[in-house]
């Protein structure tokens, strides 16, 4: 078995040029499916409108000012208009424009959703990687922490935490930055830590036993190098996917809290709007239904995008 191998036979270019085989145009151009496209358009449109309405109101004259009342025949009237040209989503209890309020509310909703997801992702990610990679005592303490978090009903935890943070803010002057938005963000972030930590830990556990990690160790790679170069790139897909799905859930959770009266006072978030208008749903269905619709479509979009990302990230790890 000492015949010399001719390297050239192995380096020959692949006989099939993928560019020339018949791949459907949609896949070749990486055009996402219709639902995903709609989700992206929805989220991008909503974000752009929200940013413009808040910071460049002149650019979007069709969005009324937050405090502007929509008058009927020169008079302020409760639920004066149904959906129509005058007020696209109709007007609300104090004659406000529902459409404008939906857009202003999106700012708080999205901020809280994204903020809470980031908190959960970062804290949960660190906790999960540490537990999964170091095992032993680190893992035990981390797991006890996440198990405790998971064992408390999240709604109860949120109610207690927010009220408690409110008290603390009043007592300590250095907590002045802790506005209601921050309180909700931190609370929801804490609730999101446990599921993130669990998923990241499970992923880390399987990855650390893979041979490429052993190979890195046998090459003399340091621990931090293994974590950042070998583990993290393989964790990112799962984390992004879970983050998007989690974002949808957290936005719905924020609406739930607002519905229970623990919302941001100004601007009203969608949950708060639903809470205010729901008693009058027979009189003015639009004041409840449109915020609900906004909530529904936004959560749906995040979920659809999350699924799509999961699919995109799934490289074929043949024979693994």
């Amino acid at each position: 078995m000492t015949t010399t191998t001719d390297p050239s036979i192995f380096s020959a270019p692949m006989p099939i040029d993928l560019g020339k085989t018949k791949v459907p145009i949609r896949e070749r151009l990486h055009i996402p499916r219709l639902g995903v496209l709609a989700g992206m358009v929805w989220l991008i449109g909503l974000s752009v409108l929200t940013i413009l309405a808040n910071y460049f109101p002149a650019a979007v004259p069709f969005i009324r000012d937050y405090d502007a009342k929509v008058k009927v025949d020169g008079k302020v009237k409760r639920y004066g208009w149904g959906p129509g040209w005058n007020a696209w989503f109709g007007t609300g209890k104090s004659a406000e424009d529902i459409f404008a309020h939906c857009i202003y509310g999106a700012k708080v909703t999205l901020t809280i959703g994204i903020g809470a997801t980031l908190v959960g992702l970062i804290v949960g990610g660190i906790l999960g990687v540490a537990s999964g990679y170091f095992r032993g005592w680190t893992d035990r303490i981390g797991s006890i922490f996440t198990d405790c978090l998971l064992s408390i009903p999240p709604l109860l935890l949120a109610l207690i935490l927010i009220l408690r943070l409110d008290d603390l803010k009043d007592i300590y002057s250095w907590l002045g930055w802790l506005t209601r938005t921050w309180q909700i963000t931190l609370t929801l972030g804490l609730i999101a830590v446990a599921p993130f930590a669990r998923i990241v830990r499970a992923q880390t556990l399987t990855l650390r036993e893979r041979e490429f990690v052993t190979a890195a160790r046998s090459l003399g790679a340091s621990r931090s190098r293994i974590i950042f170069r070998e583990l993290l790139p393989n964790l990112v897909p799962a984390m992004v996917t879970v983050a998007f799905t989690g974002l949808g859930i957290l936005i719905a959770a924020e609406a739930g809290l607002a519905f229970l009266g623990l919302g941001v006072e100004r601007p009203h978030t969608w949950g708060k709007m639903i809470d205010i208008a729901r008693d009058d749903i027979e009189k003015a269905w639009w004041a409840t239904v449109f915020p609900c619709l906004m909530l529904f479509l936004t959560v749906l979009s995040f979920n659809v995008l999350g699924d799509e990302l999961a699919r995109r990230f799934d490289i074929r790890e043949a024979a693994v």
């Binding site: 078995m1 191998t5 893979r210 490429f212 046998s218 790679a221 340091s222 490289i315 790890e317």
Partner: protein, 341 residues
């Protein structure tokens, strides 16, 4: 058979790696029991030699390889590599020492990070040890990739899953050579590949061994694969050594009953040849509770009371031919008929 002893160790200044009484145990939950994966193995490898380590699944071959690399700290024994004791080394010294010894793994695809470009994977060792500037690194990596038959340009833009199993194993080999190691431990490097690719990878290993002056430890369960590549072969059974002999001696005159049965199990690709019925019964005993005496005794056709109580030591039965058995097969005896019950 399957015993301890160090009679086979050579007293030679040319010894690159010397393993003595290596013990690796894994706890079984909280039962207090343990899996005796490797129970007192002694080996030595000379510079430029290829040592084949064979045995059936679960006999501790791979664990031995990993324990030599200190990827799993052995519970006992010593590993001396280039005149330095590895088992008592500090974490930092051990990292340094690992650059001199490298490992190639069984699963070629799993041993490469699926999310990195192949070229970066091969360059990783240089990056870890900050060797050379980027031009020198590139040059070295490209040269090695071409040497193992991978197109460097394609490697620069492809991820491991875009290569076949055989190609991935070549990439692994290139990565293991980047730091110019002296010892390479090949942990079943071809058992995940199909036969035609196996031959290519084995030839490549032989060529590279000659070109780079490597010493190999070749772990495999396939005797036909080990036969050609090894100078010396050590046969393992249930965490112990059975027999150590030069490759051709082992294949012609196996002295251990287990080796004889193992050799007999190599299929002959000729339908005309009558199958001689030398098979053994049963399965290897659990390494949690290994049998007393010779570990092979429950399945050995020649086992007697002595085998069940006294552990055989490795002893010389021919030139450079060592066996751990109380009743070795000598002078080309036909293997004793199989005990059937």
């Amino acid at each position: 058979m399957a015993g301890t002893g160090k009679a086979h160790l050579r007293d030679d200044s040319n010894v690159l790696l010397r393993v003595e009484d290596l013990v690796v145990e894994f706890p079984v939950g909280r039962t207090g029991l343990k899996v005796n994966a490797v129970s007192g193995i002694s080996l030595d490898v000379l510079r430029g030699e290829t040592l084949g380590l064979v045995g059936e699944s679960g006999c501790g071959k791979s664990t031995t390889g990993r324990a030599i690399m200190q990827l799993r700290k052995p519970e006992g024994g010593s590993v001396v590599f280039e005149n330095k004791e590895l088992t008592s080394m500090s974490h930092g010294d051990m990292r340094e020492a690992r650059t001199r010894m490298q490992m190639i793994f069984q699963d070629p695809i799993s041993s490469l990070n699926p999310r990195r470009k192949v070229r970066d994977i091969v360059m990783e060792p240089l990056a870890i040890w900050k060797r050379g500037n980027s031009a020198e690194r590139n040059e070295k990596v490209d040269a090695l990739l071409s040497e193992v038959g991978i197109d460097p340009e394609r490697a620069a833009e492809s991820q491991p899953h875009q290569f076949s199993g055989g190609q991935c194993q070549r990439i692994s080999i290139a990565r293991s050579l980047v730091l110019d190691p002296t010892l390479i431990i090949c942990d079943e490097p071809v058992s995940a590949l199909d036969v035609s690719v196996q031959a290519q990878v084995l030839n490549l290993l032989e060529d590279l061994k000659a070109k780079h002056g490597l010493t190999l430890i070749f772990i495999a369960h396939d005797l036909a694969v080990v036969k050609n590549i090894s100078d010396r072969i050590a046969v393992m059974y249930l965490g112990k050594l059975c027999e150590v002999a030069p490759s051709d001696v082992l294949y012609e005159t196996p002295a251990h009953h287990y080796t004889a049965v193992l050799l007999n199990s190599i299929p002959v690709p000729d339908p005309e040849v009558a199958i001689t019925k030398v098979a053994i019964e049963g399965e290897p005993p659990s390494p949690v509770l290994p049998p007393a005496g010779c570990r092979f005794n429950p399945r050995c056709p020649a086992a007697d009371d002595r085998c069940r109580s006294e552990e055989p030591q490795l002893r010389e039965v021919g030139p450079a031919h060592f066996v751990a058995c109380h009743h070795p097969l000598l002078g080309g005896d036909a293997p004793v008929a199989v005990r059937t019950s």
